[in-house]
Every structure is written in C-alpha cells, then in structure tokens.
C-alpha cells in the first residue's frame, strides 16, 4: 500500500483537529475528482513499517489531535492493509477516533458482512460515503465535496441498523 499524502493536523476532514493520511489507489474514477493522480495504486511512497510507526509516534505525541482520518484514493480499495494500520494505531492510541472516506455507498459495504471492506468499516467511527458527483459539487459543505455525500456515524448505525447522519 502506498500513501500519497499526510497532514499532521487538519480541520477539514472531520470534527476536531485530525491527522489525515491519503492512501493511494481508487477505481471509482469520479468525473471532476480533485486529485485523479491518486487513482494510481503506485502513486506516492510505500507505506512502510517504518513510515507507519513514524506517523503513529507523531500522532501519539500531538496533544491536540482528536483522531485520524483516512482519505485517498479510496482506502476501501486497500481494506485489509488499512484495517491492519488502524489496529496498529490503536495499540498506542486506543481511543483514537477514526474517520474514513469512501466512494462506495455505506449500504453496499454493509451488505457484505464477510468482506474486508466491512471489517475496515467496523473499525472506524465515522464514514463519509458516496462518489463525488460534479453536478452536485458544493465546497461550502463541511468535510464534503458534493451534496450526495453523507457523514455517517458508523457505531450508531451498527447498534440501531438505521443510517444515522452526523
């Protein structure tokens, strides 16, 4: 798995101050995507053990972070590796909240409970789902690019089986 970006702290990809990691590779190919170069799975740098630990240490040493956001690309195309990384993060930061972006629909992932994608979703607190649709582009929406995208509280949904929007 490659990463193609890392913000040590950001206010634009979820509530609170969050570290943001962009995982390379996406096959949704949304028209008007703001960074199509990240579709390529070989884009950026290999997310080595060393680099992972470096980022985890940095996050653990930042008293202001509320959590981490995985963006891309689309991390769900590297679901197993992304899930492993979250596990590793939680060793040092057990209560770290994880937000995740995907071009899939939440319901589609939920429909495949034995999939790697489902396991990844379960490890996260909030997902921002849905493809970017150029005709629905709205940059004034918090954390989203187009108005079809939703901010979903995953844990609340797992408990209640209803799509809860944040």
């Amino acid at each position: 798995m490659n990463i193609c970006g890392y913000y040590p702290e950001s206010i634009n990809e979820g509530d609170g101050l969050r570290a943001v990691i962009f995982l390379s590779g996406c096959r949704h190919r949304c028209s008007g995507c703001f960074n199509p170069e990240t579709w390529n799975f070989n884009y950026g740098e290999p997310f080595t053990e060393h680099r992972q630990q470096e980022i985890i240490n940095e996050m653990a040493n930042n008293p202001l972070l509320d959590g981490m956001t995985l963006a891309g690309g689309d991390p769900f195309f590297s679901a197993d590796e992304a899930a492993d990384f979250i596990d590793k993060v939680r060793i040092s930061l057990p209560n770290f909240s994880v937000w995740i972006y995907t071009g899939y629909m939440y319901e589609d992932i939920m429909a495949h409970m034995d999939s790697a994608e489902y396991r990844l979703l379960q490890k996260c607190q909030v997902v921002i789902d849905g493809p970017f649709i150029e005709s629905l582009k709205n940059t004034s929406l918090p954390y989203r690019g187009s108005s079809n995208q939703r901010i979903i509280d995953i844990q609340a949904n797992l408990r209640h089986d209803v799509a809860t929007l944040l």
């Binding site: 913000y7 040590p8 702290e9 950001s10 206010i11 634009n12 509530d15 609170g16 101050l17 943001v20 930042n62 008293p63 202001l64 509320d66 709205n138 940059t139 004034s140 918090p142 954390y143």
Partner: protein
C-alpha cells in the same frame, strides 16, 4: 576655515529644507505609498489622511532634528532602534489606556463642549461608551481599551430592567409593594409574584441590550474621528461578570458581533477579548461556560474575540476575585499594564506611556556565524545589546520627562475627567508627573527568529540549543528592565513589540547594508517579537509550547497565534481544543488566525477560492474581500491596505490545514 564652516552650515540647512519640501511633495502627490500605508487602518491616500500625514511627517522631522537625544537619533539612523510614534514625541502625548467606564458612567462627564449626565438605561450607557472612547482617543495616540466592560455596564442593564418592569406593572395592572422586593433581573420571586411584568421587562431588556450592543459595534466601526478616516483603536474585554445583567451584556455583544455590520460584514473594531478564568467560564459547570462556548463560535466566524488568560500564574498573582479591576485584560494589540511599583496593581486608569524597539537581527548579523566565523561572538552580542538597551532606555526616560512636565490641560479629557486615575485632582496647569509614574515605559524587540538564524545558523524552532539561547536572551532583556525599574523607580517593562509599520522597515535597510541573507534578510519582513516564523511548518501544539515561556518574560504584553487553514466555522471542536490547550500552557493572550473571505456579489462569507461557492462569481470579475489580521487588528482588505512587508508576511504564513 570660516568659509568652509559656513558652507557646510548652508548645505545642512539646504538639506533640511529639501527634506521638508520633499515630505510635502511625496504626500500630496501620493508618491510614497509605503509611507501612506504605514498604518493599515488609515487611508493615507485620502485628503484627511494626507493632512494628517503632513502633520505627523513634519512632527517626526522636527523631533529628529531638535528633540531626540543624539545617541538615540544615531541608533535610529543606523537601524538599531525604532522609536514608535515619533510624531508624538515632541508634544509629550502618551500611548494607550484602560478606561474606567464604571467611574465615568456613574459620575457623568464633560467632553469639553458639553456635559453628560449619568445614563439611566443600557442603551444610553452603551452610546456613551462610544463617546468616551472617542473623547479619550484624542487625548493620546495609541489604543483605548475597556478592561471589564461586562462589569462596567451591568448596573445599566439593571436600570433598564427596573424601568421596563414599572412599565409592565402599569400595562398589566399588577400591583407592587416596594418594601419586600428588589426589582432585579435575578430576583426570581418577581417572576412568580408579577409574572406578566417580569417577563415583559425581561423581553424588553434583552431587546434593548442587543440593540444597544449593535449600535455600539456600529459606532465603533463608523466614527472616523481620527485623521485619515481612522477609527479609534478600541478594545473591549469581557467574560467574567456572572450576574444575569453582566451575562446579558456578554451575550448581546457576541450575538451582535456574529450578526456583523450593516451588510453582514465582520466588524473590524472593537478588538474583543474574552477573559478566560477557571471556575468562571472554563468548564461545563462554570456559570459563564455557555458564554465561553459562544465566544468560541463567534471567533470562528469573526476572528474575535481573542482570549486572555487570567489563570496564567503571572496574571493570577494580581487577581482579587472581589475586584474585577484586578483581572488581567489587554489592549487589543497586546499591551499589558497590570503591575505598578507605585501601588496601582489594577488596570483601569493607566496605560503604557511609550516604547522603543530593538532590532535584534542586526545584532545577530554583526556577531553571528552568518559572517563565516564558526563560533558566534556572544560576548560582543551581549555587549552591544546592553549598549542599545541603554540607549533605548535613555530615550524612554527622555521622552518621559517631556510627557511628565506637560500640564494636565494638554491631555484634556484624559486628566480632567480622571480617565487617567488621579488626573481629576490636578489643576489645569499642574504637571501630570505624579499620575504618569503609574504608567509603563517599555522596551520591545523584533526578529528573534532571524537573530538566532544569523547568530547560530538555525532559529529557535529548529534546535533545542538555539531555543535555550533565545530564551536566555529575552530573559536577560527582562532582567535589564527589572533592574532599571528599581534604579529609576519607574515601571520599565519588556514588550513583544506589535510591529506593523516596523516589520519591513528594519529589513529593508538591513538588506541594503548586508545583502540578502537566507533566512535572515531574504524576506520582506522580520518575524514579530519571539514568534516562530510564519513560514516554519510545525504542529500547533509545538508552536504554543515553544512560545509560551516568552509570555511570562514579556511583562508589557505578548500574543501568540495559531494559523488554521480551512473553514473553522464548521469545526468549532478543533478551535475550542486549541484555545484551551494554549491557556493550559500559560499563553497570556491568544488568538487563532483563519481566513475569512467574502464574496463581493452575494456577500457569502467563508472560504472562497477563485469562485464563490454560493453564487459562482469569479474573482477576475468581482474582487473578493479577504479579511486578515495584522498587529492584532483586522483590516478590511489586506491587498490594498497592508504595506508590502505585511502582505508578504500574510502570503508566507504556514497554516495548519
């Protein structure tokens, strides 16, 4: 010989004459844009701005040739020192003040052209606050601040409430026995004994208070009563008054600030400062916590309020919970005047008298590794530093002597009405010295980062060793101030200079002499005071931790900023967390900078790239207003009112995304 002398005399006179005439020419023809834009809030290209410039540029010229001590003059000419507000030097005016609004309002006052009775309602009281700010700012040259406006105005909310309650009794035919009940907002018995009158009075008072706050904010943004269409540099501090009346004031000011001015735009004045105090407004169980959260919301929308830290030990030591006048508050620009060796350890009724700033960068260039030497010459550095500290101090004392011998009548409103504590006891011809000794004389500095870079090859955020050197340097300047305070029995203090006009002046001259040196003189500005350079990328928490210890050393005031990039309005959680972290680290005065763009067509406010997300207007067709902060003050459109150095600094700011 005689001929030679007279010739050189003639050429000196000619030189002076040429200077005076080119001053006028430059101003009237708008030839020197940098000079006209020295102050971001002044429209130097307007008629009144130019008239003001004629006065101030000539006053500077006069001070240079006829008033300034020779050594000080030489240090200024050689770019070692800067004398702030040089145009005010010769006449002996003073810098800034905290206004005792409680006193002026409860006694009434005279403006000189007319007298005013004590107000009997919150709407009149807030109208008078604007008048008082306006009168006072003509008595001095710097900022005017209210250190506890919520406490000062609370009694007038009570008066309004009582008035409305009496009206209610009449309208609703509710009878009232005065003996057994206080007519106050907080008297809940009234709400059951006289429900209609109480709720009517409550509603009317809320409406009146909000309208009063609205007109205060509008007044403070529209009364261009200083030359150049300048509005007074006003600041208001609030947040700690826990009476229902005080809470209503705070709430109203925040609401009206969020609503914005006439077409919804962000008010530039007054600078607002929310005073943070544990047990009062910092935790969910504190009485004013809800107002603190509202202040956070307001700041994410309007850049104000900033946050003052009453719990920092060096502020807390003067805090008396029974006297709001001992609560740390600040001039918006950062000036702090809390302690007084002559006993007035409170805020209202005094201020800073003047300050001189040392160019640390030039000292670093002279003695540092930037010259090619492997070891910096610290001995030489400190010898020179003390030399210039002495000159800076001599200058302050020299200026103080001019200020102190002025008759009370010269500062007019300030002394006559007792805005400066004790001034009201002076006869018009009496000198103001006994009053002014309670004020502060401050030595400031600029460019610690570039100084360290020149001295050691790295600045203080790049190396722990250099950081310790930087801290020792500022500590030694503070020690100097403390020692000299003893020696002269005056309040001599160290300030983290708010360097607006100065940020580029020093740099430009130094670059002419030393050339462009990477990380030292290669930008158009020097980094403000002890700040980590805006172009240096580091986590917000790290910036806060690095800058915090300097706040305690700079007893005449300091501010730290964190830059956020993005729409912080939709992420108040991050904002709150950063503010409370800064407070926990004993940052004395804190604020977060973030972009506020405003569409020229539909007035949408938020983050705007090239096109407005609401109406699609393109910047190429209609200019966007991009509000930014400079020296603590907001300025409407940084691309036209900022000077070149400040524009460069804003462009270079590294933001936490």
């Amino acid at each position: 010989m005689v001929l030679m002398e007279s010739r050189s005399y003639v050429s000196e006179t000619e030189k002076m004459l040429r200077e005076v005439s080119s001053l006028g020419h430059d101003i009237s023809e708008s030839l020197n844009v940098e000079m006209l834009r020295e102050n971001a809030n002044l429209n130097g290209e307007s008629f009144s701005g130019k008239i003001g410039k004629f006065g101030s540029e000539y006053a500077k010229w006069y001070a240079r040739y006829y008033i300034l001590p020779e050594q000080l003059m030489a240090a200024v000419d050689h770019n070692d020192l800067y004398v702030h507000d040089l145009d005010q030097y010769a006449v002996g005016s003073t810098n800034c003040i905290f206004i005792p609004f409680d006193k002026l309002l409860s006694r009434g006052f005279s403006t000189g052209s007319g007298s005013v009775r004590p107000p009997q309602s919150i709407s009149s009281a807030m109208a008078l606050v604007a008048i008082i700010f306006q009168c006072q700012q003509n008595s001095q040259y710097g900022g005017v601040s209210g250190s506890k406006l919520d406490h000062d105005l609370a009694p007038y909310v009570a008066k309004s409430f009582a008035k409305h309650f009496h009206k209610g009794l009449h309208y609703f035919n509710e009878s009232f026995l005065t003996e057994d009940q206080d007519i106050t907002l907080g008297n809940l018995k009234l709400s059951s004994s006289h429900p209609s009158s109480y709720s009517f009075a409550m509603q009317e008072t809320k409406t009146e208070c909000l309208q009063a706050a609205e007109s205060l904010i509008h007044n403070l943004n529209t009364m261009s009563s200083r030359a150049g269409g300048q509005i007074p540099f006003t600041s208001i501090n609030y947040g700690t008054c826990t009476s229902p009346e005080g809470q209503m004031i705070i709430d109203s000011i925040l609401s009206t600030t969020m609503n914005g001015l006439g077409s919804g735009e962000t008010p530039v004045f007054p600078i607002q400062i929310f005073k943070c105090k544990r047990g009062v407004n910092q935790s969910p169980e504190d009485p004013n916590y809800v107002l603190f959260l509202k202040a956070i919301e307001c700041s994410t929308k309007r850049l104000y309020p900033n946050f003052a830290n009453l719990d920092a030990p060096f502020n807390l030591q003067y805090y008396d919970p029974t006297d709001p006048n001992t609560e740390f508050a600040t001039m918006g620009c950062r000036t702090r005047v809390l302690a007084d060796r002559h006993g007035r350890n409170h805020l209202s009724g005094k201020g800073n008298l003047s300050f001189n700033t040392i160019n640390l960068v030039k000292l670093g260039i002279k003695h540092g590794v930037v010259n090619g030497s492997t070891i910096p010459n610290e001995l030489g550095f400190y010898r020179d530093l003390h030399h210039f500290l002495d000159i800076a101090l001599d200058g302050l004392l020299h200026r103080y002597n001019i200020q102190a011998r002025q008759p009370a009548k010269a500062s007019d409103f300030m002394m006559r009405e007792g805005v400066w504590e004790g001034g009201e006891l002076l006869a018009p011809e009496e000198s103001v010295e006994e009053c002014l000794k309670h004020g502060s004389l401050s030595i400031g500095f600029i460019g610690l980062a570039e100084c360290m870079k020149a001295m050691y090859g790295r600045h203080h955020a790049e190396s722990d060793d250099v950081y310790n050197k930087a801290l020792s340097l500022i500590a030694s300047m503070r020690r100097y101030c403390d020692e000299k305070s003893e020696e002269h029995d005056l309040n001599i203090t160290l300030i983290a200079t708010p360097a607006e006009g100065l940020s580029g002046k020093f740099t430009k001259k130094d670059r002419e002499v030393f050339g462009s040196i990477s990380g030292v003189t290669d930008r158009d500005y020097y980094t403000n005071s002890f700040h980590v350079p805006v172009y240096h990328n580091l986590p917000a928490a790290r910036k806060i931790a690095l800058e915090a210890p300097f706040h305690e050393l700079c007893n005449a005031g300091a501010i730290s900023y964190v830059e956020l990039d993005g729409n912080v309005r939709s992420n108040q959680k991050a904002f709150l967390r950063i503010v409370q972290y800064a407070l926990s680290q004993n940052i004395s005065y804190f604020s977060i900078n973030h972009p506020i763009d405003r569409c020229g067509t539909c007035h949408y406010e938020g983050i705007i790239g090239d096109t407005c997300p609401q109406c699609g207007t393109n910047e190429a067709d209609v200019p966007m207003h991009r509000l930014r902060r400079v020296t603590g003050y907001l300025t409407g459109d940084y691309q036209t009112r900022f000077n070149a150095a400040k524009q460069a600094e804003v462009r270079d700011r590294v933001k936490h995304k």
